[in-house]
């Protein structure tokens, strides 16, 4: 390693990036993935950028049509934030169930997406909430969907080595509910064997405009159109239809993996639980007469 920089602004980061030329570049957010991967084997010519001192990467605020979520916000700050809880419940669920207290205090939402583990928890929730990621690079900024950032390769995002995830924009949508749940080997401090994130519009007990994402089936957020359709079914058929659709979806995604039978069983449990959470949230939304919910 030849240098460690802790820029105090995006502008400073930009000039440091420009100055670092051909060196291998590493961004460090909370370090919970980075340290494990790189401890003891970082290359001699690497340059490290600590993102923790850049104010532009922080903050959670309601901007009317969307929530702005800085990429350096931690899981703890996310799941304790009232705006997130109100408009992005699935993200709140994901952030509060990931890792342990110690990990949640350091792990950032930007790092969770950038690391692109197929078992990551918040990317699916963000995708289901139809969030976009604002990417900053020396050549300008762009807005990408979560799926575009993840691409198709596990453990590798599509960003180039000077791209930074600056923030997420989560649409604030009327009458929408969302939920996330995962199954690991334990109830806490456990990597997902499978996870499920859903958002949908809720009206009189029925769902529409559903977005359904499943994690661990190749990448962190695979969209399931069949499960989205199943959520539109009449209430009496919905639960079984949703379970069946997710089962088929898993079979389609990982047809030959030895873990498929287990995942197909577990995803039915997730389907039941997430549906129950959505229904409960929908009912309380209606009861409170709230206009918008996420």
């Amino acid at each position: 390693m030849t240098g460690l920089f802790a820029p105090r602004s995006i502008e400073e980061l930009l000039s440091l990036l420009a100055g670092s030329g051909e060196h291998e570049k590493h961004f460090i957010a909370g370090g919970t993935d980075w340290l494990i991967k790189n401890r003891g084997n970082i290359s001699e010519d690497a340059v490290l950028f600590d993102l923790s001192k850049i104010p532009e990467l922080r903050g959670i605020e309601n901007r009317g049509s969307y929530l702005r979520l800085g990429s350096m916000e931690t899981m703890t700050s996310i799941h304790t934030d009232p705006e997130i809880r109100l408009h992005a419940a699935a993200l709140c669920d994901a952030a509060s169930s990931m890792g342990s207290v110690q990990i949640r205090n350091r792990a950032t939402v930007g790092g969770n997406l950038a690391n692109a583990s197929p078992a990551a928890d918040t990317p699916g929730a963000l995708a289901a909430l139809n969030a976009s990621a604002v990417i900053f690079s020396p050549s300008g900024t762009k807005e990408l969907s979560i799926e575009e950032v993840l691409g198709t390769c596990p453990n590798k995002n599509t960003l180039s080595d000077s791209d930074i995830i600056m923030e997420f924009r989560i649409p604030v949508r009327k009458s929408h509910v969302s939920a996330f749940k995962k199954i690991g080997s334990r109830s806490e401090v456990s990597i997902a064997r499978i996870n499920l994130a859903v958002s949908a519009k809720y009206e009189d007990g029925a769902f529409c405009d559903a977005m359904v994402f499943v994690g661990t089936l190749g990448t962190a957020a695979k969209r399931s159109p069949e499960a989205e359709n199943a959520l539109l079914m009449p209430i009496s058929l919905r639960k079984e239809g949703f379970k069946k659709a997710l089962c088929e979806f898993a079979g389609r995604m990982i047809p030959s993996r030895s873990t498929l039978p287990y995942k197909q069983s577990a995803i039915q449990a997730l389907a039941e639980d997430v549906l129950e959470m959505l229904e409960a949230r929908g009912r309380s939304l209606e009861k409170s007469g709230e206009k918008s919910h996420g």
């Binding site: 199954i183 334990r186 401090v189 990597i191 069983s265």
Partner: protein, 745 residues
Amino acid sequence: MDKRSYKYIGRNVTRFDAVDKVRGRFPYLADEPFPNALFGAVLFSPHANAVVKKIDVSEASRIEGVEILTYLDAPNARYNGSEWFPGQDDYPDETVLTGHARHVGDRIALVMADTEEKARKARDLVRVEYEILPAVTLPETAADMAGMLHEDGVKSFDGSICYGDLEKAFSSAAYIESDTVTTPKIHHAAMETHSVLAIPRGDVLEVRTPCQITFGVQYSIAQVLDMPLSKIRVIKANMGGTFGGKQEVVFEVLCAWAANRLKRPVFINTTREETILSTRTRAAVKGKVETALDADGTILGRSFELIVDAGAYLTGTKKVMMAMGKKASRLYRIPALSYKGSVVRTSTTPAGACRGYGSPQIHTITEIHTDLMCRRLGFDPVQFRLKNLLGEFEEDPSGGANIGKARVIECLSRGAAAFGWEENKAPKVSGGRFFTATGFACCTHGNGYYKTKYHDFSNMSLRLLEDGSAILRASIHELGSGATTALAQIVGEVTGIDVSKITVTEADTQFTSYDSGCQASRVIYVCGECARLVSEAAVKMLTQEASKLLDRPVRFYEGGLVCEGKKLDLGAAVREIMEKRRVSIEVNFEHRPESNPASFGVHFAEVTVDKLTGLVKVNRYLAIHDIGQAINESFVRGQIYGGIQMGIGMALSEELPFDSMGIPRVRNFDKYHLVNAPDMPDPEIILIEDNEPGGPFGAKSIGEISTVPVSAAIVNAVNRALGSSLTDLPLTPAKVVEAARNMGE
């Protein structure tokens, strides 16, 4: 003596190391670098079964100050790191380093430098060419492949125990029932990874190690270095947990040899991955048990056939296998028994001692079998056991020590009542997919080595100091269980000296006397009794000397010296005796136990199984133990909580699997899943304290037995919930889901 009048026995005295540990200041070996020591990084084999064709250290040795010792430099002397006394006939098949790697993590070379970073970097620059041989991963085929793994070609290490007329038992039986149960290979998961420091000091080689048997370490080193035992000084270092993982000798001999050869202090430390792959594990067992019953459900006979996986080296696994057999006749009344065990070597991480020394495996096998058998035959599992459990002072028909004041029947009946067995025994279903049921299991474990193949005694000295304080010089190994504080409580109870003024030493082979080691659940029953007896001897000497000094009768009464109705200050008496009579109050005592009773425990668990996720939640838990007398109740509870945590892991999630090439699928805590705090039940604990003869104040063991019945209790609960017959541990979510699917649809 009336229990309620005890000053220290049964009291929750705070352990001496509590404050430092809570503050993170308790120093472990790795926390206190030794001046001028070389850090030793072991080069471990990445292959399961491979012969080194070429080893090239040229690049690594170009780094300044690096010292490299490879298998080519190492002595050929073979040893067995489980032996703790000369003449134990454990087959020696291990060397300090090897050119034939027999498991991933086998030791090829030791690379040393002044810093850990440099040593590890140099280690990674050593180039090794291997010829890869077929891996031996299945215990069932290991015997046939033995020659590929070990040049000695020994197929298996067999042993058997037999008594009674088994043929008659089986031919006259109304029912014969059999099950096969497999228990997994498990990592001990002590918080402190393995480390050792060796320091050459003139003609004495000093070794500091967090171990369980200093005299065993001394003996292993002596075998390889060909040095007199007296020139090897082994000091028990502060220890961050062992659970048996540090009972056998692993890196000590290598470290001692390297330090001795280079004439420099050498410190070996390991990462979690290195400790998981290259130290010891709990032996995986596949056991078939068959029981012959009469029409009322009385056991007539039982036979066992076991395959025990020793991993790459025999280690203490044959001892473990025999210990399993020795436990088989000490829980139920079994008139005829045949136990056949076969230990095989596979190209996987070696097994060895692990909390319970085979008891968790054998009782898991028999208790799961007992429940399944009862279900198939329509017997109530509580009534069946009550009928067959041993009563007090019954003999062990296999020739082991008398069972002692057994209270297992009381454990079971009180436990069944307290846990609401009758009300809860029928499984309940909720939400379509959640199945709740209760299970339980009984178990036994020992209290030392008396009447086994191994000698058991302890030698301690107690000196009363001139200010009225005391030092107990004892070869204790504090494993983290609080044993040293418990011994101080015993000394305090006998002498009346305040516990805070009593120091109990740990083992240092140069200064403390012989003891058979902190193993075999013998510390409280044997060492504790030795501490009590040496304290009594010291008190006797004190009263005699005080009587001579004052020329009047001095008695010891209610914790103090009394002379003609007047209380004397103990410190002043010791001082005056020293000054005027030139006598110090110091006694040496050797305790040779003449009994080795059984401890018993019964655990109950209520679980909820999610049929779709396969996850098992332990809702309620009760542990009830026949413990004789708790010396320190909070320590006893601590042992039980930890025992439950380990046992749930063995039942549900802990295992070290290997692929067909012998490559470990699990190398760290990311994939090795211990039960953590959020998933732990809040156990209820009941202690039955009925004074076991031969133990200090009636105390007997708890540390090992507390983990013995847990796995079977959990598995029995799951099987009751699903109506399944799961016997292949751990019951991972995938296995549970499959069983649930088979039952439901």
